[in-house]
Amino acid sequence: MADGAGVIEVEHLTKRFRRATAVDDLSFSVPRGRITGFLGPNGAGKTTTLRVLLGLALPTSGRASVAGRRYRELDAPLQTVGAVLEASNYHPARSGRSHLRVLATAAGISPSRVDQVLGKVELSGAAKRRVGGYSLGMRQRLSVAAALLGEPELLVLDEPANGLDPEGIRWLRNFLRSFADGGGTVFVSSHVLAEVSQLADEVVIIHRGKLVAHEPVADLVAQAVGATRVRSPRAAALLERLRVVGIEAEADGDRLAVHAPPERVGDLAAEAGIPLHELVADTGSLEEAFLELTAEPQA
């Protein structure tokens, strides 16, 4: 792979299913050594993009590559990319250890890695149990174990927090953070925005199969329009004044949430001689940025 190029490269990728276009001329690059969130509303094309990337779906046009090559061209795929897809991809009658042994054998990985990764995801005690008896959280951990078998430097995860309880989510977050701290690259799709905002360094946001943003989380949050919290003994008068100049605001007793920067709100209040007891700028959030970027146009 050329220096400076992303470890994942998606170039003009389009994927159509009969008449529906799931991914539409999508291009982005995931840098090495960072955690990149992959966001989009349901049906945006996240899973389809990941499946094309991993060679499980065929692109209609364009290209998706890992370390400069299509997935099927990788000499040692499990040693290059660890993938966590659906937590239901198991034979229920096979034990967790047997499941991993099959994968390790197919990929030419030493069987001793099986017990190592089971220990890493804290499943050693359940290794001999059938996967059909595992909880969703245990199956998700087994998915992570499978992804770690080949000691890859890149993890690709599709909605890994789905169905996990808070403890499981915390475990996953800590695990991914430590993986990235060790120099690994993580590309994780999720609809749990709070998780991504805590975890990711940058995000790729798609909507209707198209790229709408690819920026560091901090930059995206900074751009999001936050509300200004105001408290005034003459809140009703201030609300009326704001509406006259076309600024939206919601009132709750003597408090207002105003959709305008604090400087503008303060100036208007001063001009009208309205005293303010509180004027606070609420910072934007990833959720606000996401909702702005993926908002449907008004009919």
Binding site: G55, L58, N89, T105, A107
Partner: protein, 248 residues
Amino acid sequence: MNALRAELLKAVTTRLLLWLGLGLLAFLLLVLSIHIGSENPDGLGELSRQRSTFAFGGLAAVVAVLLGAILVTAEYAHGTINQSFLAVPVRGRLLAAKLGGALLVAFVLALLADAATLVISELWYSGRGLSLHLGRDTLAPFLGAVGASMLAAGIGVGLGAVFRRQTGAIVAILLWLLIGEGAISAAGDTARYAPGRALAAVVAAHSRGSTDMLAVWPAAVVGFLYVAIFCGAGFLVVIGSDVPGSGD
């Protein structure tokens, strides 16, 4: 080689083979008991009758075609095909490994069926005061059962790849065996070339053909052609299509 070893590991880490093996054993016990128990002693003494008794080992081919289909369709049914293609992303290589694994498993299954047929037959014959003649003429169907089972497993892998849905593949196989093979009899001599008839001819292992059954080697060639056709079609379907998954 790694992919083939993984396919064999998949086959032995579930109870599929155990249940299929036990089912085959029970079926052999039933049909051999009816066949030998209801025949008069004079008939049982004839070499041709013993040869046809040993041909019951060929029932392993019925199990083998189902086994071949299940080895492919079970991966789709449980979603493990995703993980399999992540580990072995060159789809043709994974399917070839599945074919190789199915042939090896069918080989072992047929040997066990032959052994069970021999033991059950010996018990019945000795119980009726008769002895089995074990010679080249009477034992040929045992080799035929092994060959037919391997060919059947290959056909099953191809059908499994074509259908990919487990229920669809199994229903199609059973409908063909129970209805299709009978219906095709109306085609006269040509019916000898139907898959079931061809594999039955491999089991019977006659050096000369007749109007309703091919000789062993032409039958083996026809069986091999069926394997090539079904596997060719199935592999093209799998290589040229998306692996099913959920999500957006």
